[in-house]
Symmetry: C2
Subunit: 448 residues, 2 copies
């Protein structure tokens, strides 16, 4: 259960709502969420978080307790707060389905709703979409870097709080991870839970062999033994001696885990020890400060590692922990709107993104166009909510995961290899015309 309180917002959202209410400004507003610029280390992004964002919008309301607190806070007028008791989101949302690959400048989500509703959604909507999108985008790079390997999210402990840990498990699974160590993500999202043992377990015993055997006899399913507490190769030798004794009792050691040192070198040595002991079926699982660059190197060098536990670099998105994203008003009361702040100007109007493909099914390029403009290509924004309710048939997490895999397969080869590469994104003729017309028409009496 995610945080539901509408007080999880910026104070200014409610300040603006009070001013909108005082002046009866409740006509239809169109806001779009987009990323101004990709981080230097990203050639593409992957949309994620729509499930939680639409759940948030559908359930937006103030509880009596929250309204009572707002009254005692003295920050708002009683008449305005009275009106909030009936606050609901009644608008429409169009968005790229989760797992869709996208690029800079493209709206990934469009809210069309009475101004106060679309405004109040801003802070939490960005918060929910931004985080899962950065995690899915990072996880997708790891999936591309380590094809065929089992990738598991180990990152709860260093994720930024509870919700980050939980949603990182979801977003990485969506992007192609095999599972997560976070138990709550198994309960809440059905994501396979994967677990090994900690060094403390080994340390709490007087010797490693006893620790391994005790653990194996109590937890024989999907058994993975952590072998680097004292010396990795010695740990592997202990496993080799233990395996036949366990096998005699029907217990199979599934894998060993390495968590320190030169993982490629240790994996080769450990593979040799296990193979020499007639244990080729024991898999090698590695963890410890891994990111997609290390995955690339290990996999290209043929390190005999079958799976990876990825923690901090995934759940904190350590090389790019934030996107330059924004949720901006593009139309109000039937008129296009434009922000012209230096370096942050926006393209006005309600927009759609159209994608074209090469003959072999790869992404050739996108066009950002006005919604009613005839443009070739596949429209990427699809209905997600109508009149405040989620539309029927929104993709399940499993479907989104399938969609994500297909999207990664459609990337240009350079981007799939995590090399520099740019997918061209065009701004349509009609958007440029509209912008020029608006700049010319800037109300003269608005000047100094």
């Amino acid at each position: 259960m995610l945080q539901q309180s509408l007080l999880l917002t910026d104070l200014y959202e409610l300040s603006m709502l009070e001013a909108y209410a005082a002046h009866g400004m409740a006509e239809t507003a169109v806001f779009e969420l987009f990323v101004r610029k990709l981080p230097a280390t990203r050639g593409f992004l992957m949309a994620a978080g729509l499930e939680q964002a639409t759940q948030f919008l559908e359930s937006m309301r103030f509880t009596p307790d929250e309204l009572a607190w707002l009254r005692t806070s003295g920050m708002f007028s009683p008449v305005f707060l009275d009106g909030l008791a009936d606050f609901r989101f009644t608008g429409d949302v169009d968005a790229m389905p989760e797992g869709t690959v996208f690029f800079a400048g493209e709206p990934v989500l469009r809210v069309t709703a009475p101004l106060p509703q679309a405004q109040l959604a801003e802070s939490r909507l960005i918060n929910l979409m931004h985080f899962q999108t950065i995690v899915a985008s990072k996880a997708a790079r790891m999936v591309l870097a380590a094809p065929g390997k089992q990738l598991v999210d180990f990152g709860l402990r260093r994720a930024h709080g509870a919700e980050a840990g939980l949603l990182a498990a979801r977003a990485s699974y969506l992007a192609g991870f095999a599972g997560t160590a976070t138990l709550l993500a198994n309960r809440d999202f059905g994501i396979p839970a994967v677990g090994t043992m900690a060094h403390a377990f080994v340390q709490a015993h007087d010797d490693e062999a006893t620790a391994f055997e005790r653990f194996a006899r109590v937890r024989p399913q999907a058994l993975t033994l952590l072998i680097d507490t004292y010396d990795t190769e010695r740990g592997a030798a202990i496993v080799a001696r233990l395996a036949p004794r366990l096998a005699a009792d029907g217990i199979t050691i599934g894998a060993v885990r390495l968590d320190s040192g030169d993982l490629g070198a240790h994996a080769r040595a450990v593979r040799g020890i296990l193979d020499a002991a007639g244990l080729p079926a024991i898999r090698i699982f590695a963890s410890g400060g891994l990111d997609e660059q290390q995955l690339l190197t290990l996999c290209r060098n043929g390190a005999p590692i079958d799976g990876f536990g990825i923690g901090t670099s995934l759940t904190t998105i350590s090389d790019a922990p934030a996107l330059d994203c924004a949720y901006k008003l593009q139309e109000y009361a039937g008129r296009p709107r434009r922000k012209r702040s230096e370096g942050k100007a926006t393209w006005p109007g309600r927009k759609q993104v159209y994608r074209r493909y090469t003959q072999d099914g790869r992404i050739a390029g996108d066009t950002i166009a006005l919604i009613d403009e005839p443009v070739d290509g596949e429209p990427l924004l699809r209905p997600a909510m109508r009149n405040g309710r989620r539309v029927d048939g929104l993709p399940t997490l499993a479907e989104a995961r399938t969609h994500a895999a297909a999207a990664l397969a459609q990337l240009p080869e350079a981007l799939r290899r995590l090399e520099p590469g740019v997918v061209p994104v065009a701004i349509s003729h009609a958007i440029r015309q509209l912008t020029t017309a608006m700049d010319r028409a800037m109300a003269p009496d608005d000047g100094p």
Copy 2:
């Protein structure tokens, strides 16, 4: 209300608990939380999160629903799950008070409890302590970079989820920020809430002057107008024309906010426009992608900016979004324990940190020692929990904030200027002796 579920943990914690239970391993364990190495861009860290960590420990229990779900999951034996119904944390915690400055290798928190309790706490305890500590450490740098300026947390939207947004407000306030835009942090922690307006508010009106006046008349308290939607200096001129008309009705414009372009240059121009209009009391508030380096530059160059809104760089800790921290078993059943993994070896035993000061009250250096070792200096770890309950008189947030300010004043001058600098941290003689003795005594039958 933070996430309370004990299912917010790594699967392996429960796996280990099942093995501990099967073998009756419930003697006293001592775990310590520490940071192995400071990020390259940090000369010190600031401890934070103890309030939430001890609340978590005090309320650790499985709900009937959670136990029911664990039963249906099939991952654990029924007899083990039956035992979890009575699970409570009954141990002791000693920790550095929130706001304490600390360095690499130093235990900031020590848990002394029956092994299963100390073990199960691991994932969430790290999650809670790590995040607030990285935020407080980042915020402290900003406080040092901009002395006397009003710093406000604007970072909810790009924080990694709800809890990160909320706790970042707390940790930055603790470190010296003046307030936050996050309304829920005002309700839950009493942190002053600060708010301005968004570009959307200006854009939704047909002209900027109308937008400003409408907002001012509805929200006259602590009034801040955002003036960069179209052109910053033009916005300032509109404010200058509007101010007398509002003043006639008793409304004071408190500040203008700049959010784009060269903030120093715009601030000078805007200051000139406002002063020329006889409005020297209108303050200038700036935001937009700021971090401590930009604060340093703006402040050193004398930019006429009175306050700053800090978002992404604070709440995502963009230059160092994670610490290499660990929670490791140092003693079990009365015997010291040591992990020897490559690059991750730990010092064994229950430890305390002693701090020495120079004659003018600055930190001279720390010594990490065994708990019963006679060492000069101020002991930094203090009782926080006894027998599973928080001790009386734990610092309030306000007290922790005062403590943090004092701690920053005690930093060596180079660290206060955010320049490279190292506070010496010594490992005591007794710890080194113990380590050597343990390495010699490595059980021979534990070898290959």
